[in-house]
């Protein structure tokens, strides 16, 4: 088993080193940016405590810190692209060549005939790279999480659904799904570069489908949350309107406007129509974990299905 693992990793050592290098760069960059952002933001908050704004002053008294935070936020944006992109690239570039390189190099008939079964051969070849993809992607996802929590506007609060695609361990499940697609496409096409291109297209399609399915789930799960002018809410907002305080009836913004509730004479001292409370139709932040599990299930199913297809194709296809 150990020899098989070493062989599987040695076959792809160049891609592996390049992608692990990229992973290390992204993780270090994300953590470094997060650390610097927190340090500068802490200095800015201390500055705010020491120098309260003068009356009539419309600008920040601690603007110097903004000049340092802006490039850090720009760098954080680039790091988030890395958090999204590197696991996908790992899945694609380590999944495609497992079968496709043997077929393209016309060595499949030799390796397959030397192994007890093709399935055993494939599991021994695909297992170690898949494990590397999963571990590296978890590291990248955790670094993304740290980066999101370090954002200047978070300040220890719940970031909710912010940076959905660029944080958390679910990044690893997505990478596993891409790995499965790459393996299956590589086995089907038998040529590496076309397989990478088709994998790219299929990955784009999968992510778009997942986006729409998730959005549909979230919209269906959105609930009316009453808000007051001083309430701080966090979550994914799908709309809002007014709720009748007495009857509990919900009116959308459009319905409230048509009913004339926003007319000047209908408003109380807070600018809200009398007898009504504002509400947001939203998925509250505390349900973030639930949707992470749902998304992981979606991509996990895709990974299982594509890996099964990859095994099936490898078992049945001609070794050329």
């Amino acid at each position: 088993m150990r020899r098989a693992m070493r062989l599987a990793l040695a076959m792809q050592r160049l891609e592996l080193w390049l992608l692990l290098g990229a992973t290390v760069v992204v993780v270090i960059a994300a953590l470094g940016i997060a650390w610097q952002t927190r340090a500068v933001r802490d200095e800015q908050l201390a500055c705010y405590r020491q120098t309260p704004s003068a009356e009539g002053d419309v600008t920040s008294p601690c603007h110097a810190h903004d000049l340092r935070l802006d490039p850090l936020q720009a760098a954080a944006g680039v790091a988030k692209v890395g958090v999204i992109g590197v696991p996908i690239m790992m899945g694609a570039f380590l999944g495609v060549p497992i079968v496709a390189r043997e077929l393209e190099g016309r060595t499949a008939h030799l390796t397959w005939s030397l192994s007890r079964s093709r399935r055993r051969w494939l599991l021994q070849r695909a297992g170690p790279p898949l494990a590397v993809v999963a571990v590296a992607s978890v590291a990248v996802g955790v670094a993304g999480d740290v980066l999101t929590h370090a954002a200047p506007w978070v300040e220890g609060s719940d970031p909710g659904f912010e940076d959905w695609w660029s944080r958390g361990p679910q990044v690893a499940v997505r990478a596993a799904a891409v790995f499965g697609i790459a393996l299956a496409v590589g086995a089907l096409l038998g040529r590496q570069l076309p397989a990478v291109l088709v994998t790219g297209g299929a990955t784009l399609a999968l992510f778009m489908a997942a986006f729409f399915v998730l959005d549909g789930w979230m919209e269906a799960a959105a609930e009316p949350i009453p808000i007051a002018p001083t309430t701080i809410v966090s979550g994914k907002i799908y709309g809002g309107g007014l709720q009748n305080t007495a009857t509990g009836e919900l009116l959308s913004d459009e319905e409230a406007s048509v009913a004339g509730l926003w007319d000047e004479d209908q408003l109380d001292e807070n600018g809200i129509p009398r007898g009504y409370t504002m509400y947001f139709l939203m998925v509250p932040s505390h349900r973030y974990g639930e949707f992470v599990v749902r998304e992981a299930g979606l991509f996990g199913a895709a990974a299982a299905a594509t890996l099964a297809i990859g095994i099936l194709v490898t078992q049945r296809r001609r070794p050329i």
């Binding site: 891609e15 920040s60 603007h63 000049l67």
Partner: protein, 312 residues
Amino acid sequence: MRRAFTLAWRLHRAELAAVVAASTAIALAVLGAAADLAETHRQCLAIGARVAPCGGPAEVGQYFTDASQRAQIVYPFAAALPFVAGLVLGVPLASRELEHRTAHLAWSMSRTRLRWLGLRLLPLVLLGLLALAPAALAGEVLTRHYYPLTDPAANFEQYGIRGPILLARFVPAMLIGATVGIAVGRQLPALLVAGALVAGMGAGLSVLRPFGAVPVEQPSRFLEDPVQVGNQYLGIVYRDSDGTLMPEEQAWELLGVPEDQVDPDILPRETFLVILGERYHEILLREAGLIGLGSLMLGTGLARVVRRRRPG
């Protein structure tokens, strides 16, 4: 030469088909948005600027509709297209021969390695340019309908996703791909290395713009004259009453003082650094020149690598 084209097609038909498919898909998406915007403009000319979204061009020179949003979704794909196409066609040029151990055969059958390279590279470059042409042309059509009040030849908006510069960017990307492919000798690792280099080149071109052209200062008159579409915005500078440059930090300190506590004469004047829209073609030429020079150097490097590389 005809044989060279046939061979290029047969060896790289999957990659060429992918580039054609991507270019066509982008062109269709862009042309669809352009057609919708043209229809919006035609209707707005008839009904006047008072109905949304017809007021857009009167105020900022563009419409804000579903079609304009659709076009914006395509931007990153169109911007990446020449670089990705260059990689996809350039990397396997020789790395596939090296990886399959057929390079020693192919090279020994050709009169010289440089002749082999020329006969492989040239048809692919021409076919690649042909494949990208629909996306480049569609981008030009889009700009005409996206900014109906602005001359597209004096407009920096949608720079890089339209016209000849989209085609020009393909060439160095392909040369980088081919050079790395020959140096590394394996397709997928070469794709990764070349991808990083081409991404660096793309970022470099973006950072280097306007390629040494000296910007002019324009007073920030956004509230009085919001129609500033077409100019290339580069940044903001602050000057004191004598016209001397003032550090941003000092300018913000003064701008933060309540109006009744500060002498208006010492307040900094904020001006935009811009390249005027009418210099669009000049900047295109500057970038094309830089790309040409870079391509020449890359081509020389590629020739040297091909001549010296061991075929195994």
